[in-house]
Amino acid sequence: MTKVLMYGNEAIGEAAIRAGCQCYFGYPITPQNELTEYMAANLSRKKGCTFIQAESEIAAINMVYGASLAGVRTMTSSSSPGISLKQEGISYLAACELPAVIVNMSRGGPGLGSIAAAQSDYFQATRGGGHGDYRTIVLGPSSVQELADLTHRAFDLSDQYRIPVMILGDGMLGQMKEPVEFKHEAPAELPLRAHALRGAKGRPSKYVKSLTSNPIELEELNWSLYRRYQLIKKKEVAYEAFQCEDAELIIVAFGIAARIAKGAIKNARAEGMKVGMLRPITLWPFPSEKIQELAKNTKHFLVFEMNMGQMLEDVQLALAGNGEISFYGRPGGVIPTPSEVFRVASRLYCQKGLK
């Protein structure tokens, strides 16, 4: 397969179709409209696939709920305010242990906010977002290529653990064009879901519901979910460590902010400053153990985000006092430049007496 030039949003669509996504339910919101458009135009090229533009975000996520119950790979997408509306459905998906992929091309908030790229949905995405004691796997891509790869991965993870998976991109990733190569084709046969409802021919009828009125039974469900989350935490952590081996200062950033930080690190290295970067690819489960390991050699961490300090708390929890943390953030959809981040990093470098 050769490389093609594509918008980030379109790349998600293409990757989803190739991953065997059979049902897509969308509702327009900037900056993810290209994804809905792409699915409308292209999902029909495979047999038995359904595209519906729902009447609202809530309708879309409940259609995902239904499609997932019927045992097909399904996806929905939106941007920050729309994802807030979908939270009820995501909580229900988690309660019924149903796989689904939810794409959040986030934008500035709170409220309707702006349509510019921001990372202010980190808390909502990684803490569950909806009500109840549940988690979703959250993937944070930082390039169009990674959007495609992680979309494919999201479908596999979600089937494997029967858990909703969220892709936390941002408006900038969705709206930029980059060369992308689709490395995967859908497996000829998707794993058969034993719990799917496909008609009661030859067996007694059954139903799936998210109401468990007996607290003892609900506790058991919660514990079984918890055990699965522990397993995911153990096995599915992914991150990128960039020039961390000799680093005196490590920038922790995810998504598009990590791309900006990389530019800053190149400038810093040219000036002889030993700066590295850790980029969590899975935002939940968070690579806490890797950060603890890095803290053995590096004492200073700079958390850089396009929000007011959300992943910062995960880094603080991971370090548990074993390192000094500074923070730099630009909320509201402002895109910081690499030279700006470089200035901040080099000032910190001098302040801490590293140079």
Binding site: E340, R343, V344, R347, C350, Q351
Partner: protein
């Protein structure tokens, strides 16, 4: 003696004058022109005294000073 110079971003400086207080050579003084946010920023007096020690850049809370060393 080491020589250097600094550049102060006039638009981002909010004129707190911390750098002015800390400069060992007294090479920073208030500007006479308001910036577009209505602040009175500081400016650099290139009188050949600056050593490029970067104290100003380290104390600046808004990271608006860039230091160059010859």
């Amino acid at each position: 003696m080491k020589k250097g110079y600094i550049e102060i971003n006039q638009e981002l400086c909010k004129g707190c004058q911390i750098c002015m207080t800390f400069c060992p050579k007294g090479s920073i003084s208030p500007s006479d022109k308001l910036n577009s946010s209505g602040y009175l920023p500081v400016r650099f007096n290139d009188d050949g005294e600056c050593t490029g020690c970067a104290t100003c850049a380290v104390v600046c809370p808004d990271v608006v000073i860039e230091v160059y060393r010859d």
